[in-house]
C-alpha cells in the first residue's frame, strides 16, 4: 500500500524551505512532487522600481552564497546596455572573486552533505576550511557575504597585494588537496552513503536542462567558462571535471575536483593580474533602449539575467533572473524514484539547492 510522506517546508534535512511530497511503497520512494515559493520575495518586480545603483544592491541579495555572481551577471548585462567595457584588471578581479565564491559554496555544500551522511567530523572540518575562504573574501572586499564588489564598468575595490592573497590561496589549496578531497573521495562513509544513490541519468539530465556540477556529474560536459567565456576566463587554463555515473558520489567527486580547478584558476589570475584601472571611473550612465542578456557559470551552474531598459528611464522595465537551482530542482523527482526514504535528504542536498535564489 502506498502512502504520502511530506518532507518540508520545514524539516531538519532541509537548509531552506521547500516541500518534497513523496509517494512511498514501504521504505521505497516511487514518485515525488516538489513545491517551491515559500521564500517568494517578488525581487524581479521590486527591481523595476530601482535605479541602477539600487538595482545592484538589490540583486546582490537574491542569494546569500552567490551574491557576487548575481551582481557580476547583472553588471555584465548593464555593461551591454551602457556600452561600458570593464578594464582588464577588473575582469581578472571578477574571475578571482567568482572562483573564491565557488570555493566557499562547494566547501559549504560538502559540509552540509557530510552532516547528512552522518559524517559530523567532516562537517566541522569543511566549515573550518570555509572560514579560510571567507577570510580571503573579507581581505579583498571587507565583507564576508555581500561584497559590494561589482559596479557597471568594473569593480569597486582593487586587489592591492595579490601576493598576500596568493599565499592564502596556496595554504587553502594545500589543505583541500591533502585533507578534504582525499577524505571525500576515499572514505568508507562517503562511498557507502553516496555510491549508486540518487541517480540522474545522462538522458534525463539533458531533458531536464540540468546545469552546473549536477549536469557534469551525469556526463554532460557543459561549463559556460569554457563554452562561452566571459571576463578573463578565456585566458585561464583549467579542466572541466565530468563524471558519468550521475549518482550522489559523482556529484561529490565533480565538486571536489572543481575545488582544485578553482585553486588553479585563482593562482593563474593572481599571478597574471594586469596593471591598470579596476573600473571606468564615474562616467555618465546612458542606457540604450533594449534587452541585454548575460550568463555566468555560478557554483551551482548557469545564472542568466535578462535586463530591459528604455532610454532615459530611471529604472529597468524588466529584470528576469533564471537561477541554476530553478532548473536543477525538478530533476530531484527523478533522482529519488526508487531510492530509500532515508536517502531523500542527502539526495536533495546533493543538488546543492538554493531556494532563496529559486523563489527570488
Amino acid at each position: 500500500m502506498s502512502y504520502k510522506l511530506p518532507m518540508g517546508p520545514y524539516h531538519p534535512g532541509l537548509e531552506e524551505p521547500y516541500k518534497l511530497e513523496m509517494i512511498c511503497e514501504g521504505e521505497t520512494i516511487s514518485d515525488a512532487k516538489l513545491h517551491i515559493g515559500f521564500n517568494f520575495r517578488g525581487i524581479e518586480h521590486l527591481a523595476e522600481t530601482r535605479n541602477y545603483v539600487q538595482l545592484i544592491a538589490l540583486m546582490e541579495r537574491v542569494c546569500g552564497i552567490c551574491s557576487f555572481i548575481h551582481t557580476f551577471t547583472l553588471c555584465q548585462a548593464l555593461e551591454k546596455l551602457t556600452g561600458l567595457e570593464p578594464p582588464p584588471r577588473a575582469q581578472y578581479i571578477r574571475v578571482i572573486m567568482a572562483e573564491l565564491e565557488r570555493l566557499h559554496s562547494h566547501v559549504l555544500w560538502a559540509g552540509i552533505a557530510a552532516k547528512l551522511m552522518g559524517f559530523k567530523t567532516m562537517f566541522m572540518a569543511c566549515f573550518a576550511y570555509r572560514e579560510q575562504v571567507m577570510d580571503i573574501l573579507q581581505a579583498i572586499s571587507g565583507n564576508r557575504v555581500n561584497y559590494s564588489m561589482n559596479r557597471i564598468g568594473g569593480v569597486n575595490r582593487d586587489i592591492t597585494d595579490p601576493q598576500a592573497i596568493l599565499n592564502m590561496v596556496k595554504g587553502l589549496e594545500s589543505a583541500i588537496t591533502s585533507e578534504l578531497v582525499p577524505v571525500f573521495t576515499t572514505s568508507w562513509t562517503a562511498r557507502t552513503r553516496c555510491a549508486g544513490v540518487g541517480i540522474l541519468t545522462h538522458d534525463k539530465a539533458i531533458s531536464c536542462g540540468v546545469v552546473g556540477p549536477n549536469a557534469r556529474a551525469s556526463g554532460v560536459a557543459q561549463d559556460l567558462r569554457r563554452a562561452a567565456p566571459y571576463a578573463a576566463y578565456a585566458e585561464m587554463d583549467f579542466d572541466v571535471p565530468v563524471q558519468p555515473d550521475g549518482d550522489v558520489r559523482a556529484r561529490l567527486l565533480v565538486r571536489a575536483l572543481e575545488l582544485l580547478e578553482s585553486c588553479r584558476i585563482l593562482r593563474q589570475a593572481l599571478e597574471k593580474l594586469p596593471a591598470g584601472d579596476f573600473n571606468c571611473g564615474e562616467p555618465k550612465m546612458v542606457f540604450m533602449t533594449g534587452t541585454a542578456i548575460s550568463r555566468v557559470e555560478a557554483p551551482r551552474g548557469e545564472v542568466l539575467y535578462s535586463v530591459s531598459w528604455k532610454q532615459n528611464a530611471r529604472n529597468p522595465s524588466r529584470v528576469h533572473v533564471r537561477t541554476p537551482t530553478y532548473v536543477n530542482m525538478p530533476a530531484v523527482r527523478w533522482m529519488v524514484q526508487g531510492a530509500r526514504v532515508a536517502d531523500a535528504p542527502l539526495i536533495q542536498a546533493s543538488v546543492d539547492p538554493c531556494y532563496s535564489c529559486t523563489d527570488r
Binding site: R226, A228, I293
Partner: protein, 135 residues
C-alpha cells in the same frame, strides 16, 4: 539568412534575424514556439528559460524563449494573443516550471497542458504577483 553561419545551417527551421549582444534571435515569421522547440531539441540545444514581458497599453504580452546550442544563446520572441500560447512542455520537459511560473505571475495560459501550483498556495489567484499588483 544573410550570411553563412555553420551553427544556424544545422537548424531545420528559422532564419536568424539579428545578433544582439551575443544572442542570435530568430525572425518570428511563421514560426511558433513548438516548431522551434522540436527543431532545437533535435539539434541537441538546451532549453534555458522563457522571459515574459508585459507590452505597453493593450498590446498584451511577449514571451522570449531562450535556448543554448554549444554555448551560443538562441532567442525567439513571440507575442501572446488573448493571453494564451501553446505549451512546449510535452516537447521540452525543462520548460515545465517556467511555464507554470509565468502562468501564476501573469495569468497567461499555456494550452495543451495541465498545471499544478508552483509558487502559489491553495486559494491564491494566478496573475497577481507581478502583473496586477503593479497597476
Amino acid at each position: 539568412m544573410t550570411e553563412t553561419d555553420p551553427l544556424m545551417e544545422r537548424l531545420e527551421v528559422g532564419d536568424v534575424a539579428s545578433d544582439i549582444s551575443g544572442v542570435k534571435w530568430f525572425a518570428a515569421g511563421d514560426l511558433n514556439p513548438r516548431q522551434l522547440a522540436e527543431s532545437l531539441q533535435k539539434q541537441g540545444a538546451r532549453f534555458v528559460t522563457i522571459t515574459a514581458y508585459e507590452l505597453p497599453g493593450e498590446e498584451g504580452f511577449c514571451l522570449e524563449y531562450l535556448w543554448d546550442l554549444n554555448g551560443q544563446l538562441l532567442g525567439f520572441s513571440n507575442k501572446v494573443a488573448n493571453k494564451a500560447v501553446p505549451s512546449v512542455f510535452d516537447i521540452c520537459e525543462a520548460a515545465d516550471w517556467i511555464e507554470r511560473e509565468i502562468h501564476e505571475e501573469y495569468a497567461i495560459e499555456f494550452t495543451g497542458r495541465t498545471y499544478e501550483p508552483l509558487l502559489l498556495r491553495e486559494g491564491d489567484t494566478p496573475g497577481v504577483n507581478l502583473h496586477e499588483v503593479s497597476k
